[in-house]
Symmetry: C2
Subunit: 447 residues, 2 copies
Amino acid sequence: MSKLKPIPVALVGCGVVGSATARILTRDRALLEAKCRQTLELRYIVSKTYMRATEFQLDTGLFEPDIEKALGDPEVRIVIELIGGIDDARAVIERAIDAGKHVVTANKALLAVHGPELFERARNAGVAIGFEASCAGGIPIVRALYDGLIANRIDAIYAIVNGTCNYILSQMTAKGESYRQALQQAQHEGLAEADPTLDVAGIDSAHKIAIMTSLAFGQAVPFDMIPVEGIETIELADVKFAEKLGYLVKLLAIAERQSSGLTVRVRPAFISRAHPLAWVSGPFNAVSVYGHVTGHTMYYGRGAGGAPTASAVVADLISIASGVLPLTFSECRYMLGNNPVVRENPVADTAHRYYLRVMVRDSPGALASMTSILEHYGISIASVLQDEVADTNGGESTYVPVVIILHTTGERAVLEAASKINSLPTTGQRCSVITIVDEYPEPTAED
Amino acid sequence: MSKLKPIPVALVGCGVVGSATARILTRDRALLEAKCRQTLELRYIVSKTYMRATEFQLDTGLFEPDIEKALGDPEVRIVIELIGGIDDARAVIERAIDAGKHVVTANKALLAVHGPELFERARNAGVAIGFEASCAGGIPIVRALYDGLIANRIDAIYAIVNGTCNYILSQMTAKGESYRQALQQAQHEGLAEADPTLDVAGIDSAHKIAIMTSLAFGQAVPFDMIPVEGIETIELADVKFAEKLGYLVKLLAIAERQSSGLTVRVRPAFISRAHPLAWVSGPFNAVSVYGHVTGHTMYYGRGAGGAPTASAVVADLISIASGVLPLTFSECRYMLGNNPVVRENPVADTAHRYYLRVMVRDSPGALASMTSILEHYGISIASVLQDEVADTNGGESTYVPVVIILHTTGERAVLEAASKINSLPTTGQRCSVITIVDEYPEPTAED
């Protein structure tokens, strides 16, 4: 094949992902050339510091502190935004689009909130935005949703897309550590930030499910309408009861088509050991997608870190360079949020099985008061688990955990019943209410 | 977006996958139109019978017994080959290519053997061949290899790509059934053919790894140079020992870059319960891919069956219709077999850990004779497992299983030693030699 002139690229931001991207583009140039006719030239690394240049063996001559020079170079055809955050990143992307340059970004926070406008702006300018790196790092899940699974009506996505949370929950399960201990361990291993809020509060997962939902359901979900719960309130007791009952606690990001509409949420959940997502341990991520013809497919890998995320960035660069992604971008109606069929369904209107753990003063009638509340709300009990507790307090009444598994029940009723149970005089701390996520039904012959 | 004229398509073959494809193209037309600007018109279903028309609610007016009419229609732009087999299928594909029509096929046997010629022919004619459906049914693994993971040097693929074998081995593990019983059960459930040879002898898996190897390593492997072992000789005893030792027996298709070259093989193997592939049970498939930047990613789903395979066929149709696949086909250097770096490495020259099960006459010195043979070949023993067996034969000597786990050893030495052990007077039936597949090392910071 004939040699083509390499396409000049500007990288804005040289942090963990940026430096790994620069490294692939320079060190692995021959490898990429062997795979694809069109090649890339990394012309600028826009960064105020050379900090990572040595560690990643990058040519310091590529470093350019002045972003104007990079964005103003008319030969630059693709801008890679890897500075993160919202406002500055948005400004870089908008300027690149307005200058007729394609964009590649890993910025989930930005796309989850401003994705639809940015995509429209890019479409109007005739350029593409590559965002494989914004969801689940090295796992090519964005492509699976817009390309590989395109023949499917996607019915549900169940995703473990935050490695920090998954590591913490895996440690609690495997080592019997408390949330606090496991978090410290994660920070010690560089798997959690000093301020871990974005991760442990579920916000990062919500960003990713917002993007995947747009792709899968053709429906941009307003980010602040996604109910988000994190893992901070998960107690070791719940992790242990989960295990005893054949489940694992995972932070799940879920988007689900239900008869009444589309529900999107992030929350810790019990998932059966028989479900492939239960196998995903440590910092790994996985996304289960349910399509009306494929049934269940799952995508597993490293969802964060420099090299895996850079792999996704470079895949988008090559796809843009070869003309594939721009074509996909103009031909496929994704990220448009214009699907009139799907409407939002509040989580309160959904129904699931639930796990309830109530700390109950060990007194006669305590269980009866709880079950009569549940009965009042028409909630049916599948099983009750109350371990015998050694009476170490010399006859004084102590709090013991009572675990109640509920049959499929509307969430509104469960929350109201839990609130009533919390105000019983026999109830200790606020009870734990955790959704049990069952395997999404496989398509039938009629689907 | 403006309405475009639908692209006429001819479907050749209306079996399990063909009828499911026709159904998606007709029933789900509105769904596909909502996703993609370019739409498809199923104009011909070339089939001698209307057999499946009723079951799949297909318009019998689409059925055309005369293939000449479909291939001769100049408006038809894409031909879907789903008749299977080699010669007739090849003729259909060649005629379509020569008439300037794009091709979509699920024919793994054909592509594994004649892929390189067909791809060159298509490239010369300026048309594309879509073959997502040829590997692992509903799992978009072909796209992951040529697109999503393109930034990676692929170092290894470990794949479970035959649902029949995986179902049989899962049944043996879960239910303690013999190979024969589990095979009958699979046939009863429609998961195995009346003549199951292609599946259980590993040939189907070999077809798929041949195709994936071409994509991943840029190296077309001559199909008859892939050593293939099936699962017919796996005994329940081995399945049980595997479990006892923390492994599962899986039929693995493996392509692996080693310092001495590329090794491709299909064989039953012990895989650690800690490896995600061990979780894949029943008829499901999964492909683990190790890239030098992503590390381990895995793709899981239904690897066979009408609807999942049709999902892959339709994804290729849409990609061709929108111009994406033809562009990828001309810009990406895949399926060319022109990578000079990779050379073949005979399996005999590889090194692994091994499981050896020898049926030994319970006589003094039997174990010593075996260990001295292993010592002679420089093979180091990691552990020996010999269960005490109740002496039910009233003092007569009986055969007892002795399991020896070997440290990493060259395969040639292991096979020679096993052959020597087989000819010992104390050895009963031929001993079982099964490779233990360890997790492929994750990339280091230097990768």
